[in-house]
């Protein structure tokens, strides 16, 4: 039996559209799977997790089967990531690869099967986080994009845009101890964690801005009141959910 020809079915889906996504295509849901994939992106302190939590509550209250998948949470991989971070063993390349491994496990075991089953899948951070961070760490832009070629294209990628100072103000008010990799200390930008964090986040912000037109991210002004942002998020989400109405768990 020649299995090599039978099984060569390729990555789950071509992640990168041949043409840059235009604003008109942006809100077309991916019809390949019955489920819906909503993801949130933004620098630390942009308020994206809060917005996702509120979206989650709303979807549940409306009776949708909702599943939440967190960045860096694969049971198979997270111990290795933890080890690498704790012992400061990670280089930009292995940092990138271990996060891709984690993401692959979640894609294979949960995100993809759930979308096939018709669930609404919510992700706090998605491939764009990896693109932004890894490139900020000096990885080749094209290499990192190809690395995540297996990822499912989200129905909507919300990007919470916030000025650097606002985000840093929110973060430093909430905690004063920054972790080594979180602050980008591995890059040797500065000996001061707060200064390093600022420089690293600045680079990440630049990468996000570059990705807005490249991937057609849906921009939400994260300086607006929480409620205003959430109304926008729900309005956009609703347009896609109307299509998937028949898949609701409860009537």
């Amino acid at each position: 039996m020649d299995i090599s020809s039978n099984l060569r079915i390729g990555p789950f889906e071509v992640f990168f559209p041949a043409q840059p996504v235009t604003p008109t295509q942006q809100h077309k849901s991916d019809s390949r799977y019955p489920g819906q994939l909503f993801i949130v992106e933004g620098i630390d302190g942009s308020g994206k997790s809060t917005q996702l939590l509120l979206l989650h509550k709303w979807l549940e209250s409306r009776g949708y089967g909702v599943v939440f998948s967190e960045w860096n949470s694969s049971p198979l991989v997270k111990d290795t990531t933890k080890l690498g971070k704790k012992k400061k063993m990670l280089t930009p390349a292995t940092f990138s690869l271990i996060h891709a491994t984690d993401f692959a496990d979640r894609t294979e075991k949960s995100i993809l099967p759930l979308l096939k089953a018709g669930a609404v899948v919510l992700c706090d951070r998605y491939v764009y986080t990896a693109f932004a961070r890894d490139v900020a760490r000096g990885m080749d832009r094209q290499w990192v994009r190809e690395l995540y070629d297996f990822a499912v294209k989200p129905t909507i990628a919300f990007y919470f845009r916030v000025p650097l100072d606002t985000a840093i103000g929110r973060i430093t008010a909430a905690r004063d101890c920054l972790k080594f990799y979180e602050a980008g200390m591995d890059l040797g930008l500065s000996d001061d964690p707060h200064e390093s964090f600022r420089m690293f986040q600045g680079r990440i912000l630049d990468e996000y801005e570059r990705m807005v037109p490249e991937f057609g991210l849906t921009v939400i002004d994260a300086t607006l009141p929480v409620e205003t942002q959430q109304s926008q998020v729900r309005q956009i989400a609703r347009r896609h959910l109307e299509v998937a109405k028949e898949l609701r768990v409860r009537p």
Binding site: L7, P11, T80, M89, T94
Partner: protein, 292 residues
């Protein structure tokens, strides 16, 4: 200057890596480990410093991969990326530093096994190729080729069938024997593709280990041609050694310095040997060479 397969990693300095990167590839049971265990002491005997490394031996991901494989629920994309993490950790922290220090790096498998395994599992070539575009091009890759007929008895009579070597994640319905045959056959086919694309040198490994070893030795010697050779210093000649003539101006310094004393110690037995006596010969203990 050394090259990669297309992309380089941050801070990967490709200049000044004088060591040699030698890869031993082959399917499970082809005798890679046996050969490396023979090659390492041989290379060391020739005076080369050797680093041997192999898959899943990275401090970062080795243990994680072993644990993940125990559960038998490792997906094909996750598996490929976990192995890539292990590979890059060893590339950056072991292989490159060793090459910089002039070592001969012997590696038990490289990117080719990983590419073949991924390809057999239906992962797209272009994707896996892109990931490993950061790998260094080795100085030589020896692919130990063993046909399926010889492979089976080797595996049965040594360690028995293994879940992953039998591709049971691909053929859950078959038994270990059928799985092994189908999986290893598919791997052999992928390796043939790799040989053509990446210029792997095929070594017939169906013969006995000694023959394979001598083939490998001959080919490796070619690869090491431009490395420094260890030359054994010539045996000391026992002809009478005349002390260097010290000019009067330098005399007192040489006589009082420690150099003179060491010279004297070295000189004495040689001089005695030459004179055929065990007396005090020409040494006078004060380092006054001119007296003789």
């Amino acid at each position: 200057m050394r090259q990669t397969y297309g992309k380089s990693l941050p801070d990967m300095k490709l200049a000044d890596l004088p060591g040699k990167l030698i890869v031993i590839e082959g399917t499970d049971g082809a005798g890679r480990t046996t050969q490396i265990n023979l090659l390492k002491p041989w290379l060391e005997e020739l005076g080369h410093a050797v680093l041997d490394t192999g898959m899943t031996r990275s401090p970062l991901a080795g243990e994680g991969i072993r644990r993940a494989k125990e559960g038998n629920n490792l997906g094909r994309v996750t598996q490929s990326l976990f192995y890539a993490t292990d590979f890059v950790d060893r590339l950056e922290n072991e292989i490159i530093p060793a090459l910089r220090a002039g070592f001969v790096v012997l590696t038990d498998r490289y990117i080719y096994s990983l590419m073949a395994r991924a390809a057999v599992r239906g992962v797209e070539w272009s994707w896996i190729r892109s990931i490993y575009s950061v790998a260094l091009k080795p100085d030589a890759v020896f692919y130990l080729r063993v046909g399926i007929e010889q492979l089976i008895p080797r595996v049965i009579f040594t360690r028995g069938f293994d879940y992953w070597e039998s591709g049971m994640d691909l053929f859950p319905a078959s038994d270990m024997y059928e799985g092994f045959c189908s999986y290893q056959k598919a791997l052999l086919a992928e390796f043939d593709v790799l040989c053509a694309q990446y210029g792997l040198e095929t070594v017939d490994a169906s013969v006995d280990a000694k023959t394979v070893f001598s083939v490998l030795k001959a080919r490796i010697l070619n690869v090491l041609e431009d490395l420094h050779k260890v030359e054994i210093p010539k045996a000391p000649s026992y002809a009478p050694v005349r002390p260097a003539r010290v000019s009067p101006a330098e005399g007192p310094i040489a006589a009082s310095g420690s150099n003179g004393k060491h010279f004297e110690l070295l000189l004495q037995p040689l001089a005695n040997f030459a004179a055929g006596s065990n007396g005090n010969g020409n040494g006078n203990g004060n380092g006054n060479h001119n007296q003789h």
